[in-house]
């Protein structure tokens, strides 16, 4: 097993090709939930959790169901159903067995089904990683790294927005527009990571 390769996948997906700043996946929760740091953390944790596990599950569904049946062209339908069912299952499981965690993540979980970042990471896995050696492990690392990068972006944004509330923003730019412009400026900073490509 090549640890270096896994590490480069992790850095690549969390920093160099950060889902929010470089690929624009998951912008809706990014704008919607980042008004406070605490909710940004909750959403980030939920996304890390769901992304890591759905990466593994979609791998299994693809390799063990779609490939043997010769219906790989149905992967879009299969993946979106897996994500929706999994999110529902996690919600029910957490509610019954880990109520503390459920209270922390609860309201964010249903939002994740339509989060493009989750569907994005499993599609990226399918395009880039399926069929390579150790692909399951790589998919899990990519899922976790994607979630970690997402959380990092949410935290940065939440921190900036909490201070933006005090700032004197032109009337027309208040709310969404200034959030987008802030995100754009942060994305310029993230361009610096492109030198990190390993």
């Amino acid at each position: 097993m090549d640890l270096f390769e896994l590490f480069s996948i992790f850095i690549g997906v969390s920093l160099v090709h950060n889902f929010i700043f470089c690929q624009f996946l998951g912008l809706c929760p990014y704008i919607g939930v980042t008004e406070r740091t605490s909710s940004a953390v909750g959403m980030g944790m939920a996304v890390i959790f769901v992304m890591t596990l759905t990466s593994a599950i979609t791998w299994a569904v693809y390799e063990w169901v779609l490939v043997p049946c010769g219906i790989t062209y149905l992967y879009i339908i299969a993946f979106i159903l897996v994500i929706a069912a999994f999110v529902q299952l996690v919600e029910m499981f957490l509610q019954k067995s880990v109520p503390a965690l459920y209270r922390a993540l609860g309201i964010y979980l249903p939002l994740i089904t339509t989060n493009c970042a989750v569907f994005g990471v499993v599609t990226l896995n399918k395009i880039e990683l399926f069929g390579t050696t150790n692909s399951l492990l790589k998919c899990i690392v990519q899922g976790f790294g994607g979630g970690a990068g997402f959380m990092l972006a949410m935290l940065i944004m939440a921190g900036i927005r909490e201070r933006l509330e005090m700032a004197d923003v032109p009337e027309a730019l208040k709310g969404m527009p200034i959030a987008l412009i802030t995100a754009g400026l942060t994305a310029i900073a993230f361009l610096g990571f492109s030198g990190l490509s390993i």
Partner: protein
């Protein structure tokens, strides 16, 4: 859908609302991810707009027809049961149309497909499509839903066209692939990169809001 006096709204109104007063990108602010990612060039924006419009049209028609049919066939209690699982039903219908677009584009426009890449399968989680299914197609007839889908698709395409024109002309010095400035122009590269999309879109939203505020603001652009 009927207007304030209870009369059925005109066909033109169903169609036109998606373009201006309820533009999916600038007014409802749904489906940002593909908009920002794909608006690098006008060609990509047109391809993405066509793909999304096709999916919207297909899913709106099928969902409107299905809901009308179920409403006639099932008893009210059964219908209430079915309505509980409506979101998974919508998602499967949408995913089927996305698969059709994915395969068609891969087969007939491979160059465009390679450039749009990840974002074609991602139409399935595009909030516009699911949003229109839930907010409009489920409770309206087939013809109204068709017009709604066409208007929304066109509004989406036009919004992307606006963004991509600015980004391509300034960021690459080209319009639809043809150079517009002389050879002395050095392109402002940042606009074709990821931050440019966020900045351009943020400024456009601010501009529209400013226009709305100064023109008295009756809810339309």
């Amino acid at each position: 859908m009927s207007d304030a006096n209870g009369r059925p709204a005109g066909c033109w109104k169903e169609f036109a609302k998606g373009i201006f007063s309820q533009n999916p990108i600038f007014v409802i602010v749904l489906g940002l991810c593909p908009t920002l990612a794909v608006s690098v060039s006008i060609e990509n924006a047109l391809g993405m707009g066509a793909a999304a419009t096709f999916v919207l049209l297909g899913s709106n028609i099928v969902i409107a027809a299905l809901m009308a049919l179920l409403g006639k066939m099932l008893s009210p209690e059964m219908l209430a049961q079915v309505k509980k699982i409506r979101i998974p039903i919508y998602i499967v219908i949408i995913a089927s149309f996305v698969t059709i677009v994915d395969l068609l584009m891969n087969g007939f426009a491979p160059a465009l497909y390679a450039r749009l890449g990840l974002y074609v399968p991602l139409i399935v989680v595009n909030c516009i499509v699911l949003g229109r299914a839930e907010a409009f197609a489920a409770s309206n007839g087939v013809i109204a839903s068709t017009l709604d889908a066409l208007g929304m698709g066109l509004g989406f395409t036009l919004a992307m066209l606006l963004l991509s024109t600015v980004r391509e002309v300034i960021g690459a010095g080209k319009f639809y692939g043809y150079p517009v400035f002389g050879p002395g122009y050095s392109p402002m590269l940042i606009l074709t990169l990821a931050p440019g999309a966020l900045l351009t879109f943020g400024l456009f939203m601010g501009l529209f809001r400013h226009l709305k505020n100064t023109r008295g603001g009756n809810g339309s652009l």
